[in-house]
């Protein structure tokens, strides 16, 4: 019942669709020819084409993962891998085709840009249709553009870092992304520059049976700071779409990067994303990862603590409603001494939804004085729902490791207590759930926290008779 209500509102708020007008699209299915076409239409340098072709071979050679979620219904032949609605990326909204601009208007992107963002990228299917960075930031040498443009304008930076943190051979979907990637954000923050306003990208799938494969690369040079935010939605279709992104984040000495995601895909999207960061000496990387939508999400943001005194913070929240499976978590690899990490995972399952925490903490031989804490809390809203925890610890050195996991159900006494104060049952449920994920919400910019709270309240409505 709640799913219908949710979907009705999702339909209204995010689930609308535009007519499918495209300037270029590849044939359905995946072949060497598809990859060559994508590279050609992008007018790419030779090295990128070669990288793509090599990745495609790896993709074909790797079996489908047999762990995590159920991937058996994915048919790689039925997707369109490249779909471009425009010829080029616009730098003011007036130059974005009217239909598409309207879409982003409805999603509130231009408004947010004016209010509190330092830069915005908007991707529609395979193409970045809009990109803009605030002028004062550009003057300080900040680069924020789409990855396709970055290859042309900043080839030395892209070639130096691209696929170094997530190589094509990392996993089947990283290989797929490397072969057919398009769009995504490229960010470079020069040494010492601290960007105080968030930069945001929004990813929108519109057509049926498409794959979206953005490729994001963020480099914060020595002592630089940046906060990047991404959001994503899609229309509700009865057939599946595939979102397989790769994100590589590099925090050089003393840099600080926060990467915030609010994933709210429609319930027909497979969301299979590889996110990994490397932190050099004294650097900090924070993943703030919210997974609300999708049919199946498999995503485990990772930080490699390569330099001494580096720090990782992974904070995630997953919500699984009817027929949804959120298989998410975090990974930290301590390679250096005096490194510190914290993973906090909160999951909520309802109407038979399933959440899994899957995590890894590794302390490599030679990494002294390491501290890591992992906390995963699950909240089940009914008896049909499910939550599992799969923590892995590989500790090869003396280290301070804390691990704590709890599974809770909403109790009748707690509901009664709140209802006796005048809250309806759905208001009481929402209050409990929002309280449960408060540790996560408080890390979001206010605008997103408000939006997330509204989404949760909506989810709780109609869930009770």
């Amino acid at each position: 019942m709640s799913l219908t209500i949710l979907n009705n509102d999702y339909e209204r708020k995010y689930g609308f669709k535009d007519p499918e007008n495209y300037v270029f699209k590849t044939q359905k299915g995946l072949s060497e020819d598809t990859v060559r076409q994508i590279s050609k239409v992008k007018n790419e340098p030779e090295w990128m084409l070669n990288l793509r072709l090599k990745a495609l071979k790896i993709f074909f050679s790797k079996p489908m993962p047999q762990w995590g979620g159920d991937l058996s219904n994915i048919d790689f032949e039925k997707y369109t891998y490249y779909l471009s609605p425009t010829e080029k990326t616009a730098h003011n909204w007036e130059d974005v085709p009217a239909d598409i601009k309207k879409t982003f208007d409805r999603l509130g992107i231009p408004e947010a840009e004016q209010k509190f963002l330092g830069g915005v990228g908007a991707q529609y299917e395979s193409q970045t249709v809009y990109h803009k960075l605030r002028e004062d930031l550009a003057k300080q040498g900040v680069i924020f553009t789409d990855t396709d443009t970055a290859i042309k304008e900043h080839p030395e930076l892209v070639q130096k870092y691209f696929a170094t943190i997530v190589p094509a051979g990392d996993n089947k979907f990283a290989a797929l992304n490397t072969a057919v990637w398009s769009g995504g954000s490229f960010i470079y923050i020069p040494p010492g520059v601290k960007v105080s306003v968030p930069l945001q990208a929004y990813f929108r799938i519109n057509a049926k049976n498409v794959g979206q494969f953005e490729r994001t690369l963020i480099i914060a040079d020595k002592g630089a700071e940046v906060h990047y935010i991404e959001g994503c939605t899609a229309p509700v279709y009865s057939t599946d779409s595939l979102h397989a992104a790769v994100v590589e984040v590099i925090a050089l000495e003393g840099a600080k990067i926060r990467y915030t995601t609010i994933q709210n895909w429609s319930s027909n999207v497979y969301n299979l994303v590889t996110k990994r960061a490397i932190a050099y000496k004294d650097a900090t990387v924070e993943w703030v990862d919210g997974n609300l939508g999708s049919k199946l999400t498999m995503k485990y943001p990772c930080v490699i603590l390569k330099g001494e005194n580096s720090k990782a913070d992974i904070l995630s929240v997953a919500y699984a409603g009817k027929s949804q499976h959120q298989d998410a978590g975090g990974k930290v690899i301590h390679l250096a001494s005096n490194t510190n990490s914290r993973i906090i995972s909160k999951s909520v399952s309802k109407d038979g939804g399933r959440t899994s925490y899957r995590g890894l903490v590794r302390v490599a031989k030679g990494a002294k004085n390491v501290a890591s804490s992992v906390k995963c809390d699950a909240l089940l809203l009914d008896k049909q729902s499910r939550s599992d925890t799969y923590p892995t610890m590989k500790i090869e050195e003396q280290a301070t490791i804390a691990h704590e996991a709890t599974v809770g159900r909403i109790g009748d006494e707690q509901l009664f207590y709140l209802m006796s104060r005048g809250l309806s049952e759905s208001e009481a449920l929402a209050l409990i759930v929002l309280g449960f994920i408060a540790e996560f919400t408080k890390e979001l910019p206010m605008e997103y926290a408000v939006e997330l709270n509204k989404l949760i309240q909506l989810e709780m409505e109609g869930s009770v008779g």
Binding site: S420, R421, G422, L423, L431, I432, G435, F436, A438
Partner: protein, 242 residues
């Protein structure tokens, strides 16, 4: 608000707990309900607030002449009924001040945050509690006494027409008991009535009841004025029954 309990029979999991209770609380009155452990005192408070676990087998509960048995706990709260819990429940991640504001807004949708903060400051000083108290999460990690303070703070925020106080005095030292009783007493007036459930007479020293009832084994076996409470204290329940 006038509360009428008529020949109320209540069971839980098929076990009969209340066996025919009748009681009228008129506007402005404070009634004390005393009784030994297991006599059904807390059951009565839960039934009044509408706990779904308890089944009304017979009888009725009327507010201003209308039955509230079919009403949800939230609807009863909106009528002006408030239950101060003997064992308040923790609500993780929800700040007490935000919670109090939510409750105040339920009562008065137009209340501004500024007016709310003024009232809150007044209530806190009435209870002799530091401001930082409301920055904590609702009941999480509270001591017994802090939980009771938080209940009374909610009571003062909501200003109900009828308060049911379920063993306010359990786990409280004498000084705290005095402060909380005084705070509750400040609500006394023609539009406020209370049903004070307690084991002991000492709470009633500060919160003077107009009527006292003694509940034993699901039945009210004696009713009287404040003297009765002293009598119970002196002689014990068994002798009052005899």
């Amino acid at each position: 608000m006038k509360l009428e309990i008529k020949d109320l029979h209540v069971s839980i999991d098929g076990k009969s707990i209340l066996k025919g209770i009748s009681l009228v609380v008129n506007p402005g009155e404070v009634h004390a309900l005393m009784g030994p452990n297991g006599s059904g005192k807390s059951t009565l408070s839960y039934v009044l607030a509408g706990h779904p676990k308890y089944k009304v087998e017979k009888g009725d509960i009327l507010v201003d002449g209308k039955s509230i048995l079919a009403m949800s706990p939230a609807e009863r709260a909106k009528l002006g009924l408030f239950l101060a819990f003997q064992h308040p429940i923790e609500v993780q991640g929800v700040g007490l001040s935000k919670f109090l504001f939510t409750l105040a807004k339920l009562k008065n949708g137009k209340l501004s945050i500024i007016d709310f903060k003024k009232q809150l400051a007044a209530n806190l000083s009435l209870l002799g509690v530091d401001k930082s108290f409301v920055d904590r999460e609702v009941n999480v990690g509270f001591s017994g006494g802090e939980k009771k303070r938080a209940e009374v703070l909610q009571l003062l925020t909501v200003k109900p027409q009828l308060a049911v106080l379920d063993e306010m005095d359990s786990g409280l030292d004498v000084d705290s008991l005095q402060v909380l009783s005084k705070a509750i007493g400040s609500l006394r007036g023609p539009d406020f009535s209370a049903l004070v459930i307690t084991h002991y007479q000492r709470l009633l020293n500060y919160l003077k009841p107009d009527f006292v009832h003694v509940l034993v084994d699901g039945k009210i076996i004696a009713s009287g004025n404040a003297e009765l409470a002293l009598d119970v204290e002196k002689k014990g329940y068994q002798r009052v029954i005899a």
